[in-house]
């Protein structure tokens, strides 16, 4: 009898213990979930020092999805319509697989983990203070579909050749070598990323823009960098393009940063000669239009070797002149006004301009050049060549046969 009482007591105690354990488990799980998820009202809370306490935590945030440079969430989609630098507090990059079914401009609500960039992330993320770590199962709720205009590429004229409809494609190569960290002025990055944003807004697909910048690392998330700016990588890119660029396609080339006499400075104390660069460009024989815009010192020395039919070539200075920065040191002088002409807004947001000299509602390459040349206040003489024959011409275009063809070339 006593034995039975002991067994019953032990059994009751065991049952009680099990009940306590079982009742505790779900409570702990629920607590863990509710403690870890933090609702964030402003994207700024996810960036810089403000994010310190949220790193490693699940956050719930609303914003606009944007995939025009790198995938990111923005607090205001209008930020991407201007060619201004997006402040760090206004966007947070996405790391991991791109969210499916989203278009740039969609307003979304996300529940996702905030992390610091990891070693396996793309190089352009490594200077970011934080990223939203996506996985294939990250929940994304679309709150409002995009109101952005359709990409310009869908509005392009479709050429009809015989019975075959051909859609022209647009390719670009943007190069700034920088030489080394000390000489790699921030304006070279700003010039490249502004041009990148202009091309993207004009309908150039991100996959068709090749960026070769300094050692291969982006300064911020506004533009991906595909390669270090070296001779070998320039060779690689033009080898790819010689098969990708087709007869109806346009190729835009921008050279930036330092130049020495008849050479472009690249990364790590190397150069490429004007004839060496022309040999790379000459690999592209099958194209419609080619626009080459050069900013570097002595860039005029590149014009003659690059002169060919169906090419618009412009340089910010003559073969014997140095090129200059804008007074802000944030852009090149010529490029500052050239960007203003193409966008209608000064790159630093200090006002609007109108370079549409013939009032046809569009700014041609000749108009952009003329506007930049007229507003360039530095001791540099920009010049232009587009009739396929030397010599090049300075001053307002058209002049001496140059500038006529490019007056009907747009971006596009």
């Amino acid at each position: 009898m006593r034995k039975l009482a002991v067994i019953c007591t032990l059994g009751a105690l065991g049952a009680l213990l099990a009940l306590v354990v079982v009742s505790q488990v779900p409570t702990k799980r629920m607590q863990r979930k509710s403690v870890k998820l933090t609702k964030v009202s402003r994207i700024a809370q996810l960036r810089g020092t403000q994010a310190r306490n949220l790193i490693g935590k699940e956050v719930q945030v609303q914003g606009y999805y944007y995939d025009g440079s790198i995938p990111m969430i923005l607090d205001d989609i209008k930020l991407v319509e201007m060619d201004k630098i997006i402040p760090e507090s206004r966007y947070v990059p996405i790391a991991g697989p791109k969210p499916r079914g989203l278009k740039s401009g969609d307003r979304v609500s996300l529940t996702v983990k905030l992390e610091k960039p990891a070693g396996g992330d793309p190089v352009y993320l490594r200077k970011e203070s934080s990223v939203l770590r996506f996985t294939s199962s990250t929940p994304v709720k679309k709150l409002q579909a995009t109101r952005l205009r359709l990409p310009a590429v869908q509005r392009h004229v479709i050429k009809v050749i015989g019975r075959v409809r051909v859609i022209p494609r647009y390719h670009a190569v943007l190069i700034a070598g920088g030489w080394d960290a000390a000489n790699n002025h921030v304006r070279y990055w700003n010039d490249l990323k502004t041009m990148y944003a202009i091309l993207r807004n004009k309908g150039y697909a991100a996959s068709n823009i090749h960026v070769l910048y300094a050692g291969g690392t982006a300064r911020d998330a506004s533009m991906p960098v595909h390669y270090a700016a070296t001779s070998a990588n320039i060779n690689t890119v033009f080898n790819q393009l010689k098969t990708r660029v087709k007869a109806n396609d346009t190729l835009y080339i921008m050279l930036n940063d330092h130049g020495s006499s008849n050479a472009l400075c690249l990364w790590n104390h190397t150069t490429m000669s004007n004839t060496g660069f022309a040999a790379q460009v000459n690999k592209i024989t099958n194209h419609d239009k080619m626009i080459i815009q050069m900013k570097q010192c002595y860039s005029g020395g590149f014009t003659q070797p690059l002169t060919r039919t169906r090419r618009s070539v412009m340089a910010s200075c003559s073969p014997s002149q140095v090129s200059w920065a804008h007074s802000s040191l944030q852009f090149g002088e010529f490029t500052y006004w050239y960007f203003a002409a193409l966008t209608g807004t000064k790159p630093d947001g200090s006002g609007s301009v109108n370079a549409d000299a013939n009032h046809n509602g569009k700014v041609s390459i000749t108009e952009a050049y003329n506007f930049a040349r007229a507003h360039d206040t530095r001791p540099e003489t920009p010049h232009f060549e587009d009739n396929g024959a030397s010599p090049w011409h300075s001053g307002a275009m058209p002049s001496g046969g140059d500038g006529v063809r490019s007056s009907s070339i747009y971006l596009p």
Partner: protein, 144 residues
């Protein structure tokens, strides 16, 4: 109990020693005035003989690439490579309020960049190493 009191006394003495040494070295630092040097001297052909020396160098602050002082701020406005004798990279905590173009005096140790320093300095042979923001004194602020 006695052992505890002994330990506390030893810790107190150690702390006192540290404070004395620290203030002593600060005092020594202030007592020995830095050598006045030009950027071209410390970055030029005789750069090796400046290594390890505490100097004060004047120039224009330029913070658009790596923090540095330039002998002439106009060098930053043209796309010509800067000669190595024209600039001196600064290693250490640069104060946030410095603006590109400020004319400054930088006091610090001439040194070679080490493996623990930024990779951006890998191609530089000589830098000036500062210990805190007070080592950079603005002589003339840039006009806004």
């Amino acid at each position: 109990m006695n052992a505890g009191a002994g330990l506390a006394a030893a810790l107190f003495a150690g702390a006192l020693l540290c404070v004395c040494c620290s203030s002593g070295s600060d005092a020594a630092r202030e007592a020995v005035p830095p050598l006045k040097a030009e950027i071209a001297q410390v970055r030029g052909d005789s750069a090796e003989q400046w290594i390890g020396k505490r100097v004060v160098v004047e120039g224009f602050y330029y913070g658009e690439t790596i923090p540095m002082i330039l002998d002439d701020i106009n060098r930053a406005y043209i796309d010509v490579l800067m000669p190595k004798e024209s600039y001196l990279p600064i290693l250490g905590p640069v104060p946030d309020h410095l603006k590109t173009g400020d004319r400054v005096a930088v006091t610090g140790m001439i040194d070679r960049p080490g493996p623990a320093d930024s990779l951006d300095l890998a191609s530089e042979k000589i830098v000036i190493r500062i210990s805190d923001g007070r080592d950079i004194h603005i002589l003339e602020g840039v006009m806004e």
